[in-house]
Chain length 329, copies 2
């Protein structure tokens, strides 16, 4: 396979390279694309340095897959070029996610949808991937109707500049220096910010509505309603989500735990609790605190964590390619 | 008034002294009690040093009120001594909160219950005070049936030793030293811990069940069901709570906002968002992100923050005394 990565120098782009190594994809050639600032720098892939280059139409030719870790704007700009080059584009931006002819894929849940692609496949939102993985085995036992979710989102969700802003603020506080915030709307050090994305007319943010809109498409469940509150917390890596869900039928809790335990890429915590720290730098979603909801007899509460840069972005995209390759006709 | 404070050297005890000053209670004499470790140290009250002493039966005589900021165990031990001395005990521990003959008071909500006391009044749980203040005006418009709540609880909820543990861990990480955790069950620096209190048979923790059990008593609403998830976050001060509530009747959102805005001790955020940092070191509860729930037509979501050491503990206790004094027959 010949694979290209656009946005290769960012937090997600770099993790895509690690993930290609980890899943031992048979990559004959890797081309790394990024902005002028990074051109010429080299990143190791399987022990060999790969130089970052500027994206051109010419350099897209010959690629089988392109992994995208860029903004919606850039993704829209590059997609026609990738299409012309005949590569399959796995896009981490939200630009095309809700398009009817674009599969939105979490491989363990709806990998088969990816086989119907028209050259373009979208990677879902990070919190949505983590939450839907935790919910998928339960939705299989009985359709999930309602979800109330509150997220605890790590600063790396805003990329390397999010990480730097938290580090700088912690340092500034120690030295009694002025606190600056450019990435987040408030100081994030020792604080929580219940605002991620921009506001919609219904009072929810764009980030919050992704959980419902993308969740419906991934689970093939148009009856799913999600009230989500997205909160940024001073954690470097891994998103956590406090979930209360209601299923059509009342489910036995032991059966739910067993289904979670047996589902691919999930790790059940029944004695211990899952934490963002423990779930960092790996691809499993940790699920714990499974218990009966006290407000609806068909309700269940749980708490899940997952590394949103890896599991919620980079590895999910790489696993989409792996799924396509494993299921080639 | 002659007032005593037991546990005067702790985080809540010290804030009780500040709060007595802030609310300008007419304190003729203040006696401060703490453990042997603190005896002899002096704390300023209205500019004058007050020496910390050991609690004895003798030194309780003559006091009108005793404010308690000690463990359940110590509270149970001292209450008979306070009763014998004839003082009114306002207890911040959870030892007596659910006793039928003990009023559980948030003065703005159910202050009148305090007038029926038998010498002992309980201060509710910190997250419960903050959440119930945010819910009280809505519960007045239409009875609240169901609440799904997820808390973001500051380390100072575990007292001064909780603050020290976060500081020590941040320092240790910077110096590549070993991380120690004694106060919290996991590393709290750059992490979230979905476990506060001890587990009950239903899978909830003692801390989580307080929101329902104490909430019912404070709001005089035995139909209130609360599914709560309590999470410790690396924030020094102020708890935040993401709340989804369902009322008996469908409420107009503008009416809800107006009721919140007009309620004592609440600050409505409709343009900006409330954060734990902004709500620290003062006594108002900040309420924002008010919007319609997407899973129940009678549902409402909101996000609230409050300083749990002040509003959620020390000031609430002082305001109970103020209520009793203002409503003396």
């Amino acid at each position: 396979m010949k694979i290209g990565i656009i946005g290769a120098s960012g937090a997600v782009g770099r993790e895509m390279i690690n993930s290609l190594e980890d899943y031992k994809l048979d990559v004959e050639e890797l081309r790394l694309f990024a902005s002028e600032r990074s051109v010429g720098k080299a990143i190791l892939f399987n022990g060999n340095p790969v130089e970052i280059e500027l994206l051109t139409q010419e350099r897209l030719f010959g690629l089988d897959y392109v992994l995208g870790a860029v903004s919606n704007e850039l993704s829209k700009k590059y997609w026609p070029m990738i299409e012309m080059a005949g590569a399959v584009y796995v896009d981490n931006s939200s630009a095309f996610r809700m398009n009817d002819n674009v599969p939105l894929i979490v491989p363990e849940i709806n990998g088969e949808d990816a086989l119907k692609h028209n050259g373009l496949i979208s990677n879902p939102n990070c919190s949505t991937i983590i939450t839907m993985l935790a919910l998928a085995p339960i939705n299989k036992l009985s359709k999930i109707k309602d979800v109330v979710a509150t997220t605890f989102q790590a600063v790396s969700g805003a990329g390397n500049k999010g990480i730097e802003e938290l580090k700088d603020q912690i340092r500034a506080l120690e030295n009694n220096e002025e606190i600056k915030n450019e990435v987040f709307p408030k100081q994030i050090a020792y604080n929580c910010i219940a605002e991620i994305g921009s506001y919609l007319d219904n009072g929810y943010t764009t980030e919050e509505m992704k959980m419902q809109n993308e969740g419906r498409k991934i689970l093939h469940n148009n009856d799913l309603n999600v009230s989500c509150t997205c909160v940024r917390v001073p954690v470097y890596r891994s998103h956590s989500i406090s979930v209360r869900l209601v299923t059509e039928k009342k489910l036995d809790l032991d059966r739910v735990c067993m289904a979670v335990d047996r589902y691919p890429s999930l790790k059940l915590f029944d004695e211990d609790i899952p934490t963002p720290l423990a779930s960092s730098n790996q691809d499993d979603v940790y699920v714990g605190r499974i218990r009966r909801d006290l407000t609806d007899e068909n309700g269940i509460c749980l708490f899940c964590c997952g590394d949103q840069v890896r599991r919620g972005a980079a590895s999910n995209a790489v696993l989409i390619i792996k799924y396509l390759e494993d299921n080639k006709q």
